[in-house]
């Protein structure tokens, strides 16, 4: 659209009027050097999806190796690289960019702003995250030495416990790739978090007080707070590890007096809040979608905000539930057990509020809503297996077993992925102006759900039968074979589902039904502009009087602001 303005141009930054630009320069303007929050948001999501396919294929390969006992499809070294890359990618280069993308795309639209508070910083965040991902994958092409673990992809697991990551046990550069690429992703996330907070707190349109701000934006504020507080422990620990590896420092060097448990504290001080950083955006999507399809406002709005904030706060103090087996004193184990179980309380409030929102409504079972219902069901189960893990003695048996693997895939696929698909299905018409096909959407939904259950349900039991995680192979005769065999087939079903999703998206882009401005008859501001929205979002910045501005507009006789205490 506009030509790139040279920074040395005089005229204080107003580029000349628009000229007719070539395809390429338009493309570069819009998809490479853009600072438009909508384009950056979509770019984030596209990158996340690409990495998702990569990490998903890794997940599939992991499952293929574990399909049979004593399988030799992957060598131990390659298998270890596989789950490390899978976990790292899924968390840092799928989850984080996806939620950054959603935040970028939706927040300005929902609060009636023209862009994020710091548009250029936004671009920086995107590029630094993306380059981090590329750096991580370039490790595959790094020099591989003869001894195990000297080059190639990192093989230390996504939580990279010291001292396995020290030079003594992990020579070469594979671990450095892990440290540095994750660090880049952290910088990107921090930048995004600052931007989200500044946008939500400073760019709201007229009349949008904090108490009227959409719950999605509220939850992203909680997430941003968590990112700001919880990412630095990881970054700090990684800096220390780098100093150990490059300059001979001794932070985690157990050959000197370094302490292996210190790394675990620092990592989980980050790692636990991280899982809520991943799921709260999921909660946010669900909180926006369920009311629209149940045709009722969210039940207990204030409680929702309170629950999100308290999850954000409590989750900073429960990290040691990943460390019940390191030999902490019993007092510490009990404290962390209780604190961890307490997180169930605000989470429960949310689950109940969502169900209550559906209660008495007229639920329209379109794909976004189906994903939300599936999410509720899965997250309930995932949360309850979480409670089991939170009971310290139970965790002495379950920890680092396939039960944990099943728990967290329930939270991450049943929870996060379902909500992200819900979000994509819901906002796709807004972002592209086209509807996704309901038929393909339902195929995608059902295959994904079935595949997911086939893959992960049995793994709970394998875990209860003593199967440790992160093993590249296992002997026959311990009762694990069947569960592993079926689990692998589940991936194939999931893969088909994902392919259908991709097909659905491409098909909709090419020949999808026109969406119109407000296809779901929804209530938040993003539906009060065209689909896709213009560069400037709103020609006239809207003024709001309640938390459902479009409801007020559609029901002048019965507006929300009459019932809301402000």
């Amino acid at each position: 659209m506009a030509s790139i303005s040279h920074p040395l141009d005089e005229g204080h930054g107003h580029s000349a009027a628009r000229q007719k630009a070539s395809f390429w320069s338009t493309f570069v303007d819009q998809w490479i050097i853009t600072v438009d929050h909508k384009h950056l948001g979509l770019m984030y999501i596209i990158v996340a999806l690409l990495f998702f396919v990569a990490a998903g294929i890794q997940g599939g390969l992991i499952r293929m190796q574990l399909m049979y006992p004593n399988n030799t499809f992957l060598s131990p070294q390659v298998f270890n690289e596989m789950f490390t890359m899978h976990g790292t990618t899924m968390v840092f280069f799928v989850g984080m960019p996806f939620i950054a993308g959603l935040a970028n795309y939706l927040i300005p639209l929902m609060i009636g702003a023209r862009d994020m508070a710091f548009p250029r910083l936004n671009a920086l965040g995107f590029w630094i995250t993306t380059l981090g991902g590329i750096l991580l994958y370039s490790s595959y092409f790094a020099w591989t030495g003869s001894a195990a673990g000297t080059g190639g992809a990192p093989d230390v697991g996504w939580f990279a416990y010291a001292p396995l990551t020290e030079k003594a046990f992990s020579p070469g550069s594979s671990t450095d790739f892990w440290i540095l690429s994750v660090m880049l992703s952290s910088i990107g996330s921090t930048v995004t978090a600052i931007n989200i907070l500044a946008t939500a707190l400073c760019m709201r349109t007229k009349g949008m007080t904090l108490s009227r701000m959409p719950l999605l934006v509220w939850m992203f504020c909680v997430v941003s707070f968590q990112i700001l507080v919880a990412l630095p422990p990881l970054t700090a620990a990684q800096i220390m590890l780098l100093l150990d590896r490059f300059m001979g420092a001794h932070f985690f060097d157990t050959n000197a007096v370094g302490d292996a448990v210190l790394w675990r504290h620092f990592f989980w001080l980050f790692g636990h809040p991280e899982v809520y950083i991943l799921i709260i955006p999921g909660f946010a999507c669900v909180t926006e979608i369920i009311p629209v399809f149940a045709r009722k406002p969210i039940f207990g709005r204030a409680a929702m905000i309170g629950a999100s904030v308290s999850i954000g706060l409590i989750s900073l103090g429960v990290w040691a539930h990943h460390m019940y087996t390191v030999g902490l004193p019993s007092r510490a184990n009990i404290f962390f057990s209780v604190a961890t179980m307490l997180v169930g309380v605000p989470t429960g409030i949310k689950i109940f509020n969502w169900i209550a929102t559906m209660w008495g409504g007229r639920i329209r079972f379109r794909t976004p809503m189906l994903w939300c219902i599936a999410f509720l069901f899965h997250f309930l189960l995932a949360g309850l297996t979480g409670i089991m893990l939170a009971v310290a003695p139970f965790d002495w048996q379950l920890g680092n077993s396939y039960f944990v693997v099943a728990h967290f895939h329930y939270t991450l696929i049943g929870g996060l992925l379902c909500t992200l698909f819900a979000g994509v299905a819901y906002w796709f018409p807004k972002a592209t102006g086209r509807m996704l096909s309901e038929k393909l959407g339902k195929w995608h939904f059902w295959l994904m759900i079935i595949g997911f259950h086939v893959t992960f349900d049995g793994l709970h039991i394998a875990g209860l039968l003593g199967m440790p995680r992160r093993i590249y192979t296992y002997p026959a005769g311990r009762g694990w074979e069947g569960f592993n065999y079926f689990s692998t087939w589940g991936v194939a079903i999931q893969a088909v589902a994902i392919l259908i999703f991709v097909w659905n998206v491409l098909d909709a882009l090419i020949q999808g039904k026109k969406a119109g401005n407000d296809p779901w008859d929804a209530w938040t501001l993003e539906w009060a502009t065209t689909s896709p929205p213009p560069e400037y979002n709103f020609a006239v910045l809207p003024e709001v009087h309640s938390s459902r501005p479009l409801w007020d507009l559609k029901h002048p006789e019965d507006p929300d602001w009459k019932y809301e205490q402000s």
């Binding site: 978090a193 500044a198 707190l201 700001l228 507080v229 001794h250 007096v257």
Partner: protein, 199 residues
């Protein structure tokens, strides 16, 4: 400017009780930095007294009184500089800003002298023992922040010298001074942990 009818990106919004985005941004940044420092401080405290061999803090550290005075007073001069901008007193502003930079630079010089002594006289490097490891990383992390602050202050100073209208950038300078105060407060923590508790 050129198009009078053009709408600003962020029109002034009256009633939504919006905050200032510069302040929100900076406070967020400070929040995340505090978190970062607290981890290094934790590591320092954790390893106090755990070095089996090599120089110990009591033997080699001397309390950096002068450096501390310099850095703390530079906060005062930074504050005075910002006030000068508000009162549109340009030369006073330049003087105080210059003083801030000089005091900060003196702090860095003191640090350099100390490190030089530690490395060359006491043979304490980051690899010597966990004291060296935690000492250099914590003090070094703080020093990095001082350097970044100094660069920003210097840029402001040069811009002002070359005739930029400082009054227009009052807000930015104000934020910069906040950052500088933050670096100062962190020094108080580092000082307490390294030279008081840890010695």
């Amino acid at each position: 400017m050129s198009t009078a009818a053009s709408l600003p990106m962020n029109p002034p919004i009256d009633d939504a009780r919006n905050f200032d985005k510069g302040k929100v941004g900076l406070i967020s940044l400070i929040l995340t930095e505090v978190s970062l420092f607290s981890i290094f401080v934790t590591a320092y405290i954790f390893y106090i007294g755990k070095s089996a061999s090599g120089p110990q803090p009591v033997d080699v550290l001397t309390v950096p009184v002068w450096a501390t005075i310099c850095l703390l007073s530079s906060s005062l001069t930074a504050e005075l500089a910002v006030r000068a901008v508000r009162q549109d007193a340009r030369s006073r502003f330049l003087a105080f800003l210059g003083a801030t930079i000089l005091l900060g630079a003196e702090f860095m010089r003191q640090t350099a002298v100390e490190w030089n002594k530690l490395i060359n006289t006491d043979h304490l490097t980051i690899a010597t023992n966990v004291f060296g490891t935690t000492y250099y990383s914590l003090v070094g992390l703080h020093a990095t922040h001082v350097v970044v602050g100094l660069i920003l202050l210097l840029v402001a100073f040069l811009a002002a010298l070359s005739g930029a209208n400082v009054g227009k950038h009052e807000h930015r300078l104000h934020l910069l001074s906040w950052y500088w105060h933050f670096v100062d407060v962190i020094w108080i923590v580092v000082f307490t942990v390294v030279y008081v508790v840890g010695r």
